[in-house]
């Protein structure tokens, strides 16, 4: 059993930079948590506070029920995989993996056995006597993983472990990390800025922005119901279309002049942000001209159609190929069930349209 509990964590660096601004999180035993966010949002700082490499300014880090704020990293019984792997260059693969165990005075025979097993799992058995400099990037990554798993720690911490690999290897290692974590059942906290990694690996996702956790939940839940415009824009590629609109009690009027009926929305008139994912923005069959095609990018399985809507640009993502070219005028269909509404502060507005499946949001000129 290994749970991690973060209680209102704050971190202010010596130079006054507030890197983490009150993050609370409960990680269940065996859970795979991914912390995702843009560069500089405080992901690494958060992870390093859990590891003990960075002091906690305020709040508590609790591992397995015990507060560890003042415990040395080596005494927290957790293992970390670094972005640049941080392998000891003068030690063999075997030495790298065994070092943490030797420092903990694990009996020699057991060290050998654990290293052997880890090497087998990671297919490193042939490479045990090599130095890190004699390994490829992917192999080094495996050794870094091996160093973590031989310790049989309470939790794994990963700080962008795949960022230094090429695209193909990254996909392969991603799958492998997930499989390994499932097999070992070890609690894991994984930091990345890559939203594909985030979506695919996480049991639960923590989306961070400016030092706070904007939303925590299962990846698809965050994808389907983003709590803020930030989460809405961050998850998904291409990003969700976010359009400023003015709600007048019946219609949401976009800057382009387009007006969308929002049935059942019970709300005082005022500004709001309207969001729709590219895959949910459909072309309507009628002859209205809502938008102009600016660019068509066929990707094979689907096509990205960049559209000009007044001053704004939106992206639609129909499946397959479409017979559209730059300059074409098209009509758009906005399925009410897939429209996300956010208030002026960017917070999600609860809205349950009664006509979920119909094309209820016909633009009105």
């Amino acid at each position: 059993m290994a749970t991690v509990h973060l209680d209102a964590l704050f971190k202010r660096y010596a130079n006054g930079v507030p890197a983490v601004n009150g993050v609370s999180l409960d990680v269940a035993d065996g859970e795979f948590i991914v912390v995702v966010g843009p560069s500089g949002c405080g992901k690494s700082t958060l992870l390093r506070m859990i590891a003990g490499l960075e002091t906690v300014t305020e709040g508590r880090v609790v591992i397995d029920g015990a507060e560890v704020n003042r415990r040395e990293p080596g005494d927290r019984d957790i293992a970390m995989v670094f972005q640049n792997y941080a392998l000891y260059p003068h030690m063999t693969v075997e030495g790298n993996m065994a070092y943490g165990l030797r420092n903990r005075r694990v009996p020699k025979a057991e060290i050998a056995e654990r290293v052997r097993r880890a090497a087998e799992i990671l297919e490193l058995s042939e490479l045990l006597q090599r130095r890190p400099s004699q390994l490829s990037g992917g192999q080094r990554q495996r050794v870094a993983m091996g160093r973590a798993i031989v310790r049989e720690p309470k939790a794994f911490l990963f700080d962008e472990p795949l960022s230094n690999l090429d695209a193909k290897l990254r996909v392969q290692m991603r799958v492998e990390i997930k499989r390994l974590q499932r097999r070992l059942g070890t609690t894991a906290i994984y930091v990345t800025h890559d939203q594909v990694e985030a979506m695919t690996l996480a049991d639960r996702l923590v989306v961070m922005n400016g030092g706070i956790a904007e939303q925590i939940g299962p990846p698809l839940e965050l994808y389907d119901a983003p709590a803020t415009t930030f989460v809405a824009g961050f998850l998904g590629a291409p990003a969700m279309n976010l359009l400023a609109a003015e709600w007048d009690g019946r219609f949401a009027r976009l800057a382009s002049g387009l007006a969308l009926a929002l049935p059942d929305l019970d709300r005082a008139p005022g500004p709001l942000t309207l969001g729709i994912r590219p895959e949910h923005l459909h072309f309507a069959a009628d002859s209205r001209a809502d938008a102009t095609v600016e660019l068509v990018e066929p990707l094979g399985a689907d096509t990205l159609v960049h559209l000009r809507l007044g001053d704004a640009m939106v992206v639609a993502r129909p499946t397959g190929t479409v017979g559209l070219a730059s300059g074409d005028a098209v009509a758009l269909d906005w399925p009410a069930a897939h429209i996300h509404l956010f208030d002026a502060e960017g917070r999600r507005i609860l809205w349950t349209p009664s006509e979920r499946e119909t094309r209820s949001c016909l633009p009105v000129a």
């Binding site: 590891a51 003990g52 990293p73 293992a79 640049n84 000891y88 003068h90 070092y99 943490g100």
Partner: protein, 282 residues
């Protein structure tokens, strides 16, 4: 570098040969002189080929010295020089690697100030601070002792600075990984930093050994007792004899013998030394 014109090749070789001749000729002349007997050199005809008194001259300086100039046997002086050079280089490396370790890896009050103070002492070589240093060593009663001979030369800003630069180039994640692996600061130092510094230590050792071996002014000031003479001092004493000509063949034999240990150190450490100077593999 990539050009391959015969004229340039010739020029290159000429320059190199000239350089080698310039450096090697004096050494050769010293060797030639050390094989002659006392009269040959003063006769005015200087041969470029060795003469026949090699063994005789060398055994004489090695085991008897030059009593007329108050110089002990070279064997004794080499031992003294060796002790001094080794103590200086080992001491300097030990102290400076530890200070650099403290400065780079620990946060303590006045860290920056201390670093700059160490750095400032770069401007104060032995020659500049010789009078106060002498006072201190003499007050401590260390004149005419190995400790007095070496201690004032051991503190080294240069080596501290070099190690600091090297430590700064070691990825900080290595220290963090070691912390996660349960290694305390000294564990990290001995298990990781020290092995990584191997080539740097070797390069510094060579440089510092030669530095220590060639020390002249300080041993001259700090020792009066013949039994503590170093080779470099001994040569000076042989040349500066009052009221008579220096006995050049003996002086040269001593010089040649005095050159040998540094040469041996360079040869022995050559591979590591070059690696330490050019290699940036971490």
């Amino acid at each position: 570098m990539v050009e391959n014109r015969p004229f340039l090749a010739l020029l290159r070789h000429l320059v190199l040969i000239l350089g080698v001749a310039l450096l090697a000729l004096p050494v050769w002349l010293a060797f030639v002189a050390s094989t002659q007997d006392g009269g040959e050199m003063l006769s005015g005809q200087f041969s470029l080929l060795p003469s026949g008194h090699l063994i005789e001259n060398y055994t004489a300086v090695l085991f008897q010295g030059l009593a007329s100039a108050g110089v002990p046997p070279v064997e004794r002086m080499i031992f003294n020089s060796l002790t001094m050079a080794l103590a200086i280089s080992v001491g300097k490396i030990a102290i400076s690697i530890l200070s650099a370790f403290a400065i780079v890896y620990f946060r303590f009050p006045l860290r920056k100030t201390i670093f700059w103070m160490i750095f400032l002492t770069l401007m104060l070589p032995v020659e500049v601070r010789i009078v106060p240093t002498f006072q201190v060593v003499s007050d401590l009663g260390l004149l005419n002792s190995t400790a007095g001979l070496t201690l004032p030369l051991i503190a080294s800003a240069t080596a501290t600075f070099l190690f600091r630069q090297f430590f700064l180039s070691v990825p900080p994640e290595l220290a963090e990984a070691a912390r996660m692996d349960g290694a305390g600061p000294m564990r990290f130092f001995t298990d990781i930093l020290l092995p990584l510094s191997r080539t740097n230590i070797a390069a510094l050792f060579v440089i510092l050994f030669i530095y220590g071996w060639n020390q002249y002014i300080w041993p001259f000031v700090a020792t009066t007792d013949e039994s503590h003479y170093t080779v470099v001092m001994g040569i000076q004493r042989m040349v500066a004899v009052p009221d008579s000509e220096p006995i050049w063949n003996v002086v040269m034999a001593t010089a040649i013998l005095g050159m040998l240990p540094p040469v041996l150190v360079v040869l022995a450490m050559q591979r590591l030394f070059v690696k330490g100077l050019v290699d940036s593999e971490k």
